[in-house]
Symmetry: C2
Subunit: 199 residues, 2 copies
């Protein structure tokens, strides 16, 4: 990218570059079909360098996922500060999320495909990202809602995360649905409930 034909670059820079390329390749080909040789070649470096910095293919994937998670967290947290009430907070958070997934498709596609790796670090890592969002929502809610039933509140937070994730994937198939509309759809069901629409 940076037209650097000079080799030898400092560890931190090289790592960033590797993550950038890997994110691209993983989301294009899929984790399984992506080869470390190809990533190394695109970076312009030999394979052992990848292993030097990330230990394994899965380690490289992990780094990509963590990278995306950090951005997602920053974006959604920022969005909800200074919200007027629960409804406002929820709406702002949702909008930030839907904007994120539109602007950073590749990163999102990595987060969304939860590896066929039950019990492996990568699966845990994706799960951890959801937990992060769930906690955020649960925290938001507890500030505005009657607690009453903690288990129920936790379930509600999981619910919101799952629903939005799915809606986001649906949005990929519907270019015409912009983040604002998606947010409105989500709020409609979440906040108002389906009862309102029953005959």
């Amino acid at each position: 990218m940076t037209t650097a034909k000079r080799k030898r670059m400092p560890r931190a820079d090289r790592m960033r570059q590797m993550i950038e390329v890997a994110e691209q390749v993983f989301s294009e080909r899929g984790y399984a079909a992506a080869s470390m040789d190809e990533i190394a070649e695109l970076v312009g470096v030999s394979k052992p360098m990848l292993y030097e910095y990330f230990n394994s293919k899965e380690g490289l994937l992990l780094a990509c996922i963590r990278e995306s998670r950090t951005v997602l967290r920053e974006v959604t947290e920022q969005a909800t500060v200074g919200a007027a009430d629960a409804e406002d907070a929820l709406r702002r958070g949702l909008l930030a999320f839907f904007v994120f997934i539109r602007e950073r498709r590749q990163a999102w596609s990595l987060l969304r495909h939860e590896m066929a790796l039950i019990g492996t670090p990568a699966a845990d890592e994706v799960e951890e990202t959801r937990r992060q969002q769930t906690d955020l929502i649960a925290a938001l809610m507890s500030g505005y809602f009657d607690s009453g039933d903690d288990l129920r509140a936790e379930a509600a937070a999981e619910f919101v995360v799952g629903a939005c994730e799915r809606l986001a994937i649906w949005c990929e198939r519907h270019e015409e649905v912009n983040p604002e509309t998606a947010t409105e759809y989500a709020m409609d069901v979440l906040w108002t409930g389906l009862r309102q629409r029953a005959r």
Copy 2:
């Protein structure tokens, strides 16, 4: 299983047996970590037999996923026949789903881990399962709801599927939450909406 020490069994039977074993191994080890050699050994047959019947590792996975999907469809469709109204239909469907995932954990865990295989048949297959459920819900709703906005209705259906999927995963971590309670939590948010609980 059937204590058959006699080899040579008819194609159909052998395939069923292979799918049974594969479902077990895939959900235990994860798709990537599972080896065809191991599955073949557990079945008591040599590897080329697996390829004879399923063509590839992914083909075998596909067969497992399709198997589960068929059962899921039967169960949920059956549950909703003869529902009194939209609320009742939704509740029955949800309960059937939550019972299914509790009773058939392995099958569910296969459906839930959507392979790190963007653009490959297996990913499409899992997606197809969701579409099946989404269509079912959309059909249910259209029978009871004002149509008005088709896109909105489609979005709502996606929403329900995603939310329930996530809630189901959450249930795995909470043994104390039985299908009935899960259904109640889901109905609470979906039907009533979060507004009811705001301070």
